[in-house]
């Protein structure tokens, strides 16, 4: 035995080294594959073919708002109820539920901002094969075929989208578990259904994990049995689909044949891997399809675990593709087929028919709302680290930024600031005087974010816990007791954020007298809200945990949204409904854009992670979440200096700009890498601050119209097929094109400048380049390529100060980039930067800036608004200009002033000196 122990020694070492080296990447074994997720396996076992569903046309009812129709599964005779809605704004809603479910099936609440307004559907024709409905003026039809059941949306003679054309509509109806071992009827049924197109009935035993499944010692009890749903969508003429974040993958979604489907299930994934379809922290079940003619959106409103299969007949003709050819009569048209599978709930799909990308964004915004308009300072730079150790540390870092003349607006405190991971409290030794600390930041016009996670330490001396427990606000386990799991504080409870009373109570905890030590410049970060449960299945909550009457299974992906919702509400309430909140969340769902910002979670200090930050945020932007960022520098591990600098340069041009680092990494405040690198980082951050007026204006638009801030090129150049797969460069709004340098030792990048007949100006050199070309741009470490579109006007603030608040009243410099036709247009948006008065009292300035016929003018875009700003126009830089003989400023009072100017003939840059006119009034500058 002794010998055995001795001999085990080296073995143990070997095992440990394997384990430790294994920690450098995700432990895939912790997370399910489709094969390990019983419903996904059952559903995926179904192959395309003839659908067993038939529409019972005699049950058709058409009212003003909707059409209803029963569907029957000819194999098991279970009936479904189909509801079709034509929604305002060119959308169709398809809802399918059981006609008579044993008990109600979950329908996702609180995601849609209202009951979507409908428009009347009109019946164009009907026979025994089906019905044809009109979808409005654009010669769009909706065809309901009876046998087999399928839906086709047509425009003219063209099919835009088909549902159930591959017969993958599958609805596991709710049933009673029969414990009798022998049940001839059931067995018979099973045989039937094997041949049929629905997963096995499994009413007798726990076949295919219908009534129970075990994963890594966690048993999921399923008192409701099988309940999954599935539906297929075919998109003729489509080769590019996007969206369904969150995945660490390319912007263009890949086909999933031969691999796992894309998974949507909010999970805390430790050291996630890149370029695969594994689930991450958030889930937005919205997919966009795009080709040169049209953009379509599919919004699958379901909050349960969801898997999305994508196949394409052009992505290497597989057996599957051949079968499709057969089904459709062998066309050479490219086609993308998509199949959604969810574990429970109902089928509730919104088909957003575009036709332009902009239209789809508006359509989706009309359903789930728009990006919250953040306080201006939240668009500035954030300095975070796990953890700033104590008040002295915070003061020293704050001082460090001033000493090195680097601006920042927010310093963040991670979990260590609390008293034993009890959120809403402070560590009494490290942060004994939080108000002094916050006042110190107020004195510098800076702010702080503290972390408040949704796991609550089970500790009878902790007020928050006691109140939640006594009010019965905790999520319950399947047996009705408070659900408990392991997280940062040790044993923790999880408040039931799906309960509106719970949310109201939670919001009240952010009141200044409740959250002791908090002040008005302190905002909130919700982490771990998937929720993360260290000892739970797949590091999250047990699916049979109960939120009121519903299982976590039904609403899992909603939990994070509710946490952020309640927190944002708390921040609004504490200010008496005046201030805009700022809340960062890791988990999210459709609609989360309404509550604040998201970040891409715990990334790694590697070049590929810098690279992936672009498609990850682009994907989120396409589905409503504009306020997205990745941890600058990378969370895990320590970045090389070059990587850190490149990350700052990239992050400065991404919406949420925050540096963050793991507890175990060496410090990396910007000045710790020598004067040269400090200068490089300072310059990157200053570029961000100078551009804040433009960022703010983009967010104003995102808030009002749902247009993404950070956009793939194809959004603005929808007919340029060269842009469809690009995700190494992006647009900010329409007017700035950014191509980050994401290669180590990169000496140059090849940027694609879109737009035939357009021109682009390098913002660093003012060099003009023609559009519709691939341009090789040599780069140094000093900056990344950024271009301004000819035809645009971008306002900047050239006086970069130590925080955005300090720059509030500073004057503007307008960068007018002329198109080849000597035209340009832009906007200027100004408000107080932090309250909701812009909305409630129309206190803002929104101006149209346009350059045409050699005159630049500013006109009011919002006549009903009023706001007074001391800011003025300091300088006007016109790119691509010719030299005028004189420049005259005309103001509303009738005065005319000659402006001095400088002209750089080599770059054709005209600089008008000090117009000095107030930024909120009408004015014109005429060049002669």
């Amino acid at each position: 035995m002794a010998a055995f122990i001795v001999r085990m020694g080296p073995l143990l070492v070997l095992w440990q080294s394997v384990f430790l080296s294994g920690t450098s990447a995700v432990d895939r074994g912790n997370f399910k594959t489709c094969d390990q997720s019983a419903f996904c396996k059952r559903q995926r076992a179904l192959k395309p073919g003839q659908s067993p569903y038939r529409a019972l046309l005699e049950t058709l009812e058409l009212t003003n708002t909707k059409l209803t129709l029963q569907l029957i599964n000819d194999n098991n005779k279970v009936r479904l109820l189909l509801e079709l809605y034509r929604l305002q704004g060119n959308m169709t809603r398809v809802k399918i539920n059981e006609l008579k479910p044993l008990k109600p099936r979950f329908e996702v609440p609180d995601v849609l901002i209202n009951d979507p307004p409908t428009e009347p559907l009109s019946l164009l024709s009907q026979d025994e094969n089906g019905v044809v409905l009109s979808l409005g003026a654009d010669s769009q039809w909706l065809i309901v075929s009876a046998k087999p059941f399928r839906l086709d949306i047509m425009e003219g003679r063209e099919v835009l989208l088909s549902l159930n054309s591959r017969g993958l509509l599958a609805f596991e109806h709710l049933r009673i578990r029969k414990d009798t071992q022998v049940d001839p009827e059931g067995a018979e049924k099973k045989e039937e259904s094997d041949a049929a197109n629905e997963p096995a009935e499994g009413e007798t035993a726990n076949e295919d994990g219908m009534w129970e499944e075990t994963f890594k010692s966690h048993t999921d009890n399923k008192p409701n049995g099988p309940s999954s749903i599935s539906l297929d969508f075919s998109l003729p003429g489509v080769e590019h689909v996007y969206g369904i974040p969150e995945h660490a993958d390319s912007l263009k979604l890949k086909t999933t044949d031969g691999g796992d489907p894309y998974r949507l299930f909010n999970l805390d994934v430790f050291q996630y891997e890149l370029f695969n379809p594994m689930a991450l922290y958030g889930a937005i079940p919205v997919m966009l399809s795009h080709n040169a003619q049209r953009t379509i959106g599919i919004f699958w409103l379901n909050a349960a675990e969801t898997w999305v299969d994508i196949s394409s007949n052009t992505a290497g003709k597989t057996v599957f593709g051949q079968m499709l050819d057969y089904v459709q009569g062998s066309s050479e048209t490219p086609q993308t087929d998509v199949r959604w599978i969810s574990e429970s709930g109902i089928i509730d799909v919104f088909i957003m028919l575009g036709p332009t990308p902009t239209d789809v964004f508006s359509q989706y915004a009309s359903l789930t709302g728009t990006q919250a308009f953040p306080p201006l300072s939240a668009l500035a730079y954030h300095q975070c680290r796990w953890n700033y150790n104590d008040q002295e540390d915070v003061a020293a870092v704050d001082q460090g930024f001033d000493e090195h003349d680097i601006p920042y607006d927010f310093i963040w405190l991670d979990i260590e600031h609390t008293d034993g991971k009890r959120y809403f409290t402070w560590d009494p030794h490290k942060f004994p005087q939080p108000k002094d600390m916050l006042q110190g930041l107020i004195d510098k016009r800076r702010k702080m974010v503290t972390i408040v996670d949704p796991h609550i330490k089970v500790d009878s001396s902790y007020k928050i816990h006691n109140e939640i427990r006594s009010k019965g606000f905790y999520v319950k386990n399947k047996d009705g007791g408070d659900y408990e799991g392991w997280c940062w504080p040790g044993n923790s409870g999880y408040p039931d954020f799906t309960n509106p009373e719970m949310r109201a109570w939670w919001a009240s905890m952010f009141a200044y007298d409740q959250y002791e030590g908090s002040m008005e410049n302190m905002y909130t970060w919700n982490d771990m809200n998937e929720p993360s449960v260290f000892n739970g299945p797949e590091v999250t909550m047990h699916k049979d945990a109960l939120h009121g009457n519903w299982e976590n299974r039904d609403l899992h992906n909603l939990y994070g949204l509710y946490v952020q919702m309640a927190t944002a509400e708390g921040l609004i309430e504490r200010s008496g409904g005046v201030e805009r909140p700022f809340v960062l969340t890791r988990a999210f769902f459709a609609g989360s854009q309404r509550y604040g910002a998201v970040w891409t979670g715990d990334n790694t200090a590697e070049w590929d992670h810098l690279k992936i930050s672009i498609p990850m945020c682009l994907s989120l932007g396409l589905v409503g979440v504009s306020f997205c960022g990745a941890d600058v520098g990378g969370f895990f591990k320590s970045p090389s200096t070059e990587l850190l600098v490149r990350w700052y340069q990239t992050g400065a041009y991404q919406p949420f700009f925050r540096a963050h680092a793991h507890l175990d990494t060496p410090r990396r405040e910007p000045w710790l890498f020598g004067p040269e690198n400090t200068a490089l980082i300072r310059e990157a951050v200053r570029q961000r601050y100078a551009l804040l007026p433009y960022w703010y204006q983009l967010f104003y638009h995102a808030h009002y119209s749902g247009q993404p801030v950070m956009r793939p090129l194809w959004v603005e150049y929808p007919q340029d097929t060269a842009t469809f797969s690009m995700d190494d460069q992006f647009l900010l709004g329409r007017d700035l094109l950014v191509h980050p340098v994401t290669e180590e030792g990169g000496r140059g990048v090849t940027a694609y400048l879109p737009g035939k007949g357009e021109v682009w100006f390098d913002v660093h050199t003012f060099q003009k380049h023609n559009g519709a070309q691939n341009l090789y741009i040599p780069v140094t470490i000093s900056s990344i390529p950024v271009f301004q579109r000819g035809g645009s006007i971008i306002p900047r603030k050239a006086r970069v100060r130590r925080s955005s608040s300090c720059m509030e009243h500073d004057p503007y410099t307008l960068f007018v980039a002329l198109s080849p036709k000597r035209f340009a247009q832009g906007e200027l948006y100004i408000d107080d930067g932090h309250t909701i008065n812009f909305d409630k009292q129309k206190q803002f300035i929104h101006r149209r800036l346009s350059f045409a016929n050699n005159a630049l003018s500013s006109r009011n875009l919002a006549p009903g608004s009023q706001f007074i700003t001391p800011s003025w126009i300091e300088k006007i830089v016109i790119l691509g200009a010719s030299k005028p003989s004189k420049a005259t400023l005309k103001t509303p009072d009738g005065k005319e002033n000659l402006l001095e100017f400088e002209f750089d003939a080599s770059m054709s840059v005209l600089t008008l000196r000090k117009p000095g006119v107030n930024a909120g009034v009408d004015w014109t500058v005429v060049l002669q």
Binding site: P10, L14, N389, D443, P666, R801, S805
Partner: protein, 536 residues
Amino acid sequence: MSCALLLLLMSLALAMGTGAAVEIQRPRGVPLSKRQFYEENKPFTCLDGSSTIPFDRVNDDYCDCMDGSDEPGTAACPNGSFHCTNAGFRPAFIPSSRINDGICDCCDTTDEYNSGATCQNTCREMGRKERESLQIMAEITKEGFMLKQQLIHEAKRGQEDKQGKLTELQGSKKGLEGKVEALRTVKETEEDPEKKAKERHLKSWEEKKELIRMEKDKTRMAEAFLELDDDADGYVSVAELQSHLELDPDSNGSLTETETQGLLGGADKVDTSAFETVWSGIKDKYLSEGLSDPPAPVETPQEEETRDFVADHNSDHYPEDYAGEEEDVEDDEEDDDHEEEEEEEKVPPTVQTPEKREDDEVSMPPYDTETQSLIDAAQKARDDFDEAERALREVDDQMKNLEKEIGFDFGPSAEFSYLYSQCYELSTSEYIYRLCPFNRVSQKPKFGGSETNLGLWGQWDDPEDNLYSVMKYDHGQGCWQGPNRSTTVKLTCGKETVVTSTSEPSRCEYLMEFTTPAVCQEPASLDKVLHGHTEL
């Protein structure tokens, strides 16, 4: 240090000198030293010479000069700087971007002339406080520097002592080396007869043992003969021997008649005397019938199996067994290449073991008195030699330690040598930190738990070579997924030698503040600066 301090005090004196005087007219934000470049009503030339502008464009809130020199008093230029006079305190330059940003940067409030910020003039108060603290610092420095002289003096003496000790040790080392050599000769001389006497004794014992062994063998042979001679006819026949399968020469499991005959030297049967020859051939294999309970006949095939099992066990199931074990590497190699051989060699010893034991049962008789006295003499010589050698080693160690200590860089005047072999502790709420200069830094939880090594003496680690104010201790205990712990110790001037603070700014990178008189610099002209500002 002294230089910085001097400058500080000089500028302070300057501020006090001019503070009360009449404000000299100059554009906002321009220091006195540059006033001459800003002449009212004359065109202004940017200080970098890049362009010339009308004077009314100085401080007109628009940046005309590349170097920002036309806007010393506004925030218009990104690279400009603003001068605050700070009467009562010391003047300062701040970046232009801090003008009118709503934050009071200059203690005289001059940076916030148009922002609405309400700033209090705190210059006098700050000046007073700074003077006070500088006064205190100066006193500390003064006293510290005196202590340092003492330290240098002591260090010098200590160094001399050590040098003297070293020389002394070098002398005694020589003596000891001679002694060791002499004793070695004595030892060797004494050991020679001892060895011979011991060999003699052993040889006679071996002879005696051989006799006993032969006698035993004869007895065994006789017993075997009787055992084999089943029919008691005085002969051992082929048939009688054939039952002893263990004697099978080709180990194939059957002892044929021919084979048996071969064993009997070709005869069909042998008598007692002829058996002697036969016996010498078979005795190694022969198993007494009385003892042959173990299944001798089936042994061979079983052995095969056992071997396979063992080999399997070693090479396949537990390949890790040998990885990193201290056992000979040879074992490993044999395992790989000569498995069969090894096993074949390994099996017989188990059979031989009883014989060996028998041998050992009879012990060697004690040495005779003559041999014993030779042995005793040799032992004494050995002990004496060992003793001398140990003494030499000790001296060697002492010398090495001294040389190491003398070799340390204790500063330009060895002023840090007093820290050597000392330890200083600081107790915080959770830990006791311990700094043993030039040795190690450690941390021990206050309430139980083992000590953690935060780094071993590395080197002086100053940004500039000639300073001695930062110590680096590294290669401490490793961190999970991180570097080895290390500690930076910052030394500041103080009257006492004490650890004043510790922190862990970055995971596993510790920072310790340590005061010692040894870093106090000569406060040479302090008095002059403090009291002689009139001459400026």
